[in-house]
């Protein structure tokens, strides 16, 4: 017995769900950012599983590009977080609920 495709899809769905729950219940900007990274990884797992089970390399190329986007997102997102902290002295999203300072 080998792992079925649906096992990987279910694991991916569970990880994505945990990421969504984290974004909804966390109030720290950095924690929410890490939950978004978790969701990106759950989608990557889906891509790799389909790519492996269908013997098609396209899925892994998508994962490669998603990782690049995640790296760019990390750089820009952390820059935004630093800017927020510099302006508000807080990382709580409830403290930055308005765009105006």
């Amino acid at each position: 017995m080998t792992p079925q495709l649906s096992w990987y899809l279910a694991l991916s769905a569970v990880l994505f769900t945990i990421g969504v729950v984290g974004v909804m219940i966390k109030r720290n900007v950095i924690s929410m950012f890490m939950c978004i990274e978790l969701m990106l990884n759950a989608v990557n797992l889906t891509f790799v599983a389909f790519s492996s089970f269908r013997s098609d390399v396209s899925g892994q190329l998508f994962v490669f590009i998603v990782m690049t986007v995640a790296a760019a997102e990390a750089a820009v997102g952390l820059g935004i977080i630093i800017a927020i902290f510099r302006n508000r002295e807080s990382l709580d999203v409830d403290d930055s609920s308005v765009l105006k300072l």
């Binding site: 279910a10 984290g22 950095i30 924690s31 790519s51 492996s52 490669f64 590009i65 690049t68 990390a74």
Partner: protein, 181 residues
Amino acid sequence: MLVVLFILFAGMAIGCAISMVAQRNPLYSAISLIGVFISLACLYVTLSAPFIAAVQVIVYAGAIMVLVVFVIMLLNVDQAERQPRRLRSLVPIAVGLAAILFAEAAFIIFFVNASPLTPTHNVSNVGLTTSIGTGLFTSYLLPFEITSILLLMAIVGAMSLARRGGLLPASARDRDGEKSQ
């Protein structure tokens, strides 16, 4: 054998993910997230995708998480005091939506399994670096180039966002000030 590995690493991934959400300290969350990334890399190896596994460890667990930990330590947020939880009324809604998503996962497990694809772990050379490089530089060349432009934009954006003087250079800000006065 693969089943044992799957259960082991899937359990590790879910456990680390739950721990990440449950931790109060962002630094512990980051370390749990690194655990998730490592176990996902192991799952990629069992899916015969060694290149993606290596990139996962290097880029995610290496570069991105080092950046995150660096920012956490730079901003020193562990002194954030416990505030009373606002938006408490939204907690049942969040739990309900999570239950819906878990129900979808259960649906996938029990009903979509009717036509299982056969895994091709032995014959495929799909995950090898050669095939990925060939695909990336032939049929997916345009997305590759667009990705490089995206990285360039991210570099410029991150520099201008995190710079101490703000988004605009000082001369432009002075001009804005004169206009508003």
